[in-house]
């Protein structure tokens, strides 16, 4: 392989990315605008972690042991994440919930204090506990409320009634299945951010498809084919330039997200991993771009056909899938972008180590799929796309 040829083609492609306004927009400006827009819309801008959820509380606790419910409400208020609104009855609270004035309703039962007291009198003798349930109604129209409020309340309930580090899993007061996510420090943007990386890179498919069809239409591919440049050298240059584009997109998304207050878990190693996994994903995008170019007659057609690959990945494999049904989320496993978002979510949101089985599985599946798609793209383009 002649590196002079490869690097001169890479240099040419990088100049195209910088000098062609449409490509510059898709690679650099689009991620900048998207990250800023999501940061502004979903609570990251300004870096504030102030209260974002308003919940209504109907305190039906009896006069006896009332200090338990007051202590619980006080702890909820102290989080500064929840804005508490008191209601005298469930009906009024439910009416406000339906109208979207609040995101959740919490019903503290009559025997809440009695139950808490029974636990403290005999923490290890569950047969003596007075069992009860705290009912929680969450606005189903808000995906963030459904995901974040229950873990927050679960955590505060545990601290209030059992102490910060309860040792037993049996409890007299139930509030549904607790989540392991430490939601108390998260904004809505934190849920979105891992998906932004794949979202930005997905559009490389369109750029590659347009670039190949344009060059074919202008006779430039034929012209390069007349030089001693080999197909391997040419495809290597394309892969390198699009990898560099993906790397710059990760840098742009992360920089913008950081500037608007995003602080992912995992530190520098996580960030390096993000560069690696998005770079691998770029191979897949080049492959999809080549497949698109192989079946497209013109750059205009390539733009439209590229969406056959872009849309499923966008909806099933990025942050967009957060709000989808469980069936749709399961379908996401069939699109490569899912594995990028899943790995980055585990890393940035859950603080999982890179060596965790989930992340290793994600990167393995993504690597295999990306290499296969790239090879398929090269084969199809060489067979059908060169005319």
């Amino acid at each position: 392989m002649n590196l002079q040829r490869v690097f001169s083609l890479v240099k040419k492609d990088l100049k195209k990315m910088i000098r062609e306004p449409a490509i510059l927009f898709l690679i650099i400006l689009f991620p900048v605008i998207m990250t800023l827009a999501f940061g502004a819309s979903f609570g990251a801008i300004g870096g504030t972690q102030s209260a974002t959820y308003e919940i209504g509380i109907v305190n039906m606790n009896s006069e006896a042991y009332k200090e338990w419910s007051e202590h619980f409400i006080g702890n909820l208020t102290d989080t500064e994440i929840l804005k508490i609104k008191d209601y005298v009855d469930n009906e009024t609270a439910q009416a406000d919930l339906i109208q979207g004035n609040i995101q959740a309703v919490l019903l503290i039962p009559e025997n809440f204090g009695e139950s808490s007291n029974s636990f403290w009198k005999a923490p290890s003798e569950s047969r003596l506990w007075v069992n009860t349930t705290v009912h929680l109604y969450v606005d189903s129209g808000s995906m963030f409320a459904t995901q974040a409020i229950q873990p927050i309340i679960q955590q505060i309930l545990a601290v209030t009634v059992y102490g910060a580090q309860p040792s037993s899993t049996a409890r007299p007061i139930q509030i549904g299945s607790p989540s392991l996510v430490e939601a108390s420090r998260l904004t809505q943007f934190d849920y979105f951010a891992p998906g932004l990386f794949a979202f930005a890179a997905i559009f490389l498919t369109m750029i590659v498809a347009q670039s190949f069809t344009e060059d074919r239409e202008k006779g430039l591919l034929r012209r390069i084919n007349i030089t001693p440049t080999t197909p391997t050298e040419f495809m290597t240059s394309q892969t390198i330039s699009n990898m560099l584009a993906a790397i710059s997109q990760v840098a742009v998304v992360f920089t913008m997200a950081f500037l608007v207050g995003y602080r992912p878990l995992g530190g520098a190693i996580s960030l390096i991993f993000a560069f690696v996994i998005v770079t691998i994903f770029s191979l897949c995008c080049v492959g999809f771009g080549l497949i698109t170019a192989a079946i497209s007659k013109s750059p205009g057609a390539a733009t439209g056909i590229a969406f056959i690959f872009i849309m499923p990945q966008m909806f099933l494999g990025t942050f967009v899938s957060v709000g989808l049904s469980s069936v749709a989320q399961s379908a996401g496993r069939f699109v490569p972008a899912y594995y990028v978002t899943d790995a980055l979510t585990s890393l940035f949101l859950r603080g999982a180590p890179i060596s965790s089985p989930t992340i290793l599985l994600d990167i393995t599946v993504l690597t295999i799929v990306s290499v296969m798609v790239l090879l398929l793209g090269i084969v199809l383009f060489r067979k059908y796309g060169k005319a």
Partner: protein, 246 residues
């Protein structure tokens, strides 16, 4: 390298039910400037595409610089420079960047590439505009840069496919001067054109093809004398009963 730089032996190229080249045989000597004349659709560009390995012949064989084009395409590509009929240039690169890119694709040493780029840009009158993006060039300037891109690596054999089509007279004469210099440098050139005056002006020999067949071959003056006509245009009319640009 054998005596003939280019040998085409009984070449036929069919596209489905259309025969673009039909049993064409010819030889081009080293250092010869050979004109391939014919109207649009005569098969000139198809011949060039077969010679540079872009198209496979349906039957027959072609060799360039002594190498069989089908068997040793890389060797052939190292020898040739091809100026396509339509200017194939990167509009977002400057004139100089376009030229340097193709020099690099031929793996030229940097100093030679720089020297050749300067020299060719100067000869074609594009030195001052070399820093401008080609997308901003006029049609004539694009065609001139198109020609430089084909010749920057100093090829032994050049295929110039209608290099002056749609050019203004000033640009056309600049290109003619440039082609004459190639001849002086003893390069083998195949020039396709449908401008008969261009062929008369530049070519050592011309082959007139029509509907894929070679219908006349010889030096321009020799053909004019043989058919007792005033110019090659009239020779073509006598041979085919049509004007070349009909």
């Amino acid at each position: 390298m054998e005596k003939a730089a280019i040998v085409i032996d009984n070449l036929t190229k069919r596209f489905e039910d259309v025969t673009a080249v039909d049993g064409l045989s010819l030889e081009v000597e080293n250092g010869e400037l050979y004109g391939l004349l014919g109207p649009n659709g005569a098969g000139k560009t198809t011949v060039i595409n077969v010679l540079c390995g872009l198209l496979e012949p349906t039957s027959g064989s072609v060799s360039v610089g002594g190498y069989d084009v089908q068997k040793e395409p890389v060797k052939v590509k190292e020898l040739i420079g091809v100026c396509p009929q339509d200017a194939a240039v990167y509009p977002y690169l400057t004139g100089r960047e376009n030229v340097e890119l193709f020099g690099n694709l031929h793996a030229m040493p940097k100093d030679k590439l720089k020297r050749n780029t300067e020299e060719l840009l100067g000869k074609m009158g594009l030195l001052e505009d070399a820093k401008r993006r080609v997308g901003k060039y006029s049609g004539g300037m694009k065609r001139r840069i198109n020609l430089i891109m084909a010749l920057v690596h100093d090829p032994k054999i050049a295929f110039l496919d209608e290099p002056t089509v749609a050019m203004d007279p000033q640009s056309r004469h600049a290109v003619w001067d440039f082609i004459r210099e190639l001849k002086k440098e003893n390069k083998t050139v195949i020039l396709t054109t449908h401008y008969m005056e261009e062929a008369e002006e530049l070519c050592d020999r011309v082959g007139i093809i029509d509907r894929g067949k070679l219908i006349a071959l010889g030096a321009p003056k020799q053909l004019i004398d043989k058919f007792e006509e005033k110019n090659l245009e009239d020779v073509f009319i006598q041979l085919t009963g049509r004007r070349i640009r009909e």
